[in-house]
């Protein structure tokens, strides 16, 4: 019985696949039983015989396989996150099952968002949605005394003052707020500057630029007007910016260059005509003169070409 068991396990003994106790038993038995020892010898010989014919792939084969694979990889897209989601919707479910916290978070955010939207809608209908307060809608330490739950976009950090029960929480809000104040109010100016550059609504940009033109002495305002002149997609806003900058063409070389740039490259001929009118008093300036010369010769717009020519003709001869 023992010999049968040992013979069945000799192979695994040779392949080093026996547990320690089984191994010990086999070794003990082999020391006592010459027949099983012969079997061990035969198994080892068989093992060695098979090992004699071991081959490695030729280096050339490996090299060419690698090259072939590299070529194929160049035209293959790796399976990434999105592919997994598209082709393996089960992965989604597993992911959620594996991460109950994530599932709970998604649920809470969705639920909170829904309640928040309803709350905003209802309070807007009540005609009393405006909250006068700090205008900074970004992250920060907003001095809001009573943060409305639905308005919290996300909590950035929570820290406790050591040794006290004071907690400071940084959060982002998405509250609609209203700011009121005079044009000289810095807060209002800041908002106008922001609106002039960033608002997606061109009407709002137009109003902001219009208001800013009333205080163009401020260098930041001038910057915003220059920015609007150069980058705004709406020609009306660009025209307003030009108006605001008109009084600075003479004294500020940067403004003058900006207006010249608009004159050369603006896509709207109205804006270009206005720019041309603005630089007229400065036509003795060498930059202005060279632009006018170029326009009078090569510009595609007939009226700008003739206007530039007229302006140049009226110019006193230079020494």
């Amino acid at each position: 019985m023992k010999c049968d068991w040992v013979r069945q396990n000799i192979l695994f003994y040779v392949y080093n696949e026996l547990e320690d106790d089984a191994r010990y038993e086999v070794e003990q038995h082999l020391g006592r039983c010459p027949e099983c020892a012969t079997e061990l010898k035969a198994t080892r010989k068989f093992h060695a015989t098979l090992s004699e014919t071991v081959a490695e792939p030729a280096p050339n084969l490996l090299a060419s396989s690698r090259m072939r694979l590299q070529e194929a990889l160049e035209t293959t897209q790796p399976g990434g996150f999105w592919q997994r989601l598209m082709f393996e919707p089960g992965a989604w479910l597993r992911q959620i099952r594996m991460a109950p916290a994530l599932a709970a978070a998604i649920f809470i955010v969705g639920f909170g968002g829904g309640i928040g939207a309803t709350y905003n809608f209802l309070s807007a209908r009540g005609g009393n949605a405006a909250v006068t307060g700090s205008v900074d809608t970004g992250s920060g330490n907003l001095p809001l005394t009573q943060p409305v739950e639905s308005s919290i976009a996300g909590i950035r950090s929570v820290t406790q003052e050591p040794g006290s029960n004071q907690v400071s929480i940084k959060y982002d809000t998405v509250l609609t707020q209203e700011a009121q104040g005079s044009l000289n109010d810095q807060r209002i100016q800041q908002l106008l500057l922001f609106a002039a550059r960033n608002n997606y609504n061109s009407g709002v940009r137009m109003d902001s630029v219009d208001l800013l033109t009333q205080a163009p002495d401020d260098t930041r305002v001038r910057e915003a007007l220059m920015y609007a002149l150069q980058n705004d997609t709406n020609p009306g806003v660009r025209l307003k910016a030009l108006d605001g900058l008109s009084s600075f063409v003479r004294q500020d070389a940067r403004v003058r260059d900006g207006v010249l740039r608009a004159l050369i490259s603006d896509t709207n001929s109205g804006v270009r005509m206005q720019a041309l009118r603005l630089v007229e008093p400065m036509k003795t300036d060498s930059n202005v003169r060279s632009v006018l010369t170029r326009l009078s010769q090569t510009d595609q717009n007939v009226s700008i070409r003739s206007q530039a020519r007229t302006m140049l003709a009226q110019m006193p001869e230079m020494d």
Partner: protein, 236 residues
Amino acid sequence: MPADSYAVAIPVGEISRPKRAAQDSGNQNPTLYWNMRGSLAAQSNRIDDTSLIREAQQGNRAAFEVLVRHYDQPVLRLALHLTGSESDAQDVYQEAFLKAYKNLGSFRFECSFYTWIYRIVTNLCLDHLRKRNVRKEEAPVAVDASGEEYSRLEQFADARSGANPERDLMRRELGRKIGAALTRLTPRERMVFELKHYHGLKLRTVGEMLNTTEETAKNTLFRATQKLRSALAEMR
């Protein structure tokens, strides 16, 4: 026998050809193979692999290519042994790594990358063996890339031919016999034997790769060796 192409630590970011000092050591004892994969080296390699896999999952192809180089030699050897043809082995190699690349997103570190890639390769090889069994093309004679016939196991002997032509001849003959004996195994027996004997893997790992238990792998190996022994005894 190959030596350890895995126990190589490659810092991530430094995409270079891994040094394989052990690879050329000419170690010919398969049982040493596993032992050489010292657990420490294997562990550090696993850490490297983890970051390589993550990079590759984010679309870094160079990281994937480094991963390929960690594993491709044993993969090609397995494919060559089992298919018996250089061009088939290349096809399996190519298909296995492309499959791995395309499905890398679904690799979730539930098993080692080593097991994962071997699972892909073994499946492809098993398919190949089954198809061949259906076609009854079981001759140990294979065809190389240039279309020339050769005995798979003879060429192995060639690789180590020394100054003794008589010994070479005997080795060639033995190779032919072993090749013929191996064809008597079922694809699964063949695979278990290959992974255990020539790749030195633990039967637990073999079971994992073939989606079965260690016990089943053990029984399969036992059957395979019994068959091989009797086949070789008949031929003597």
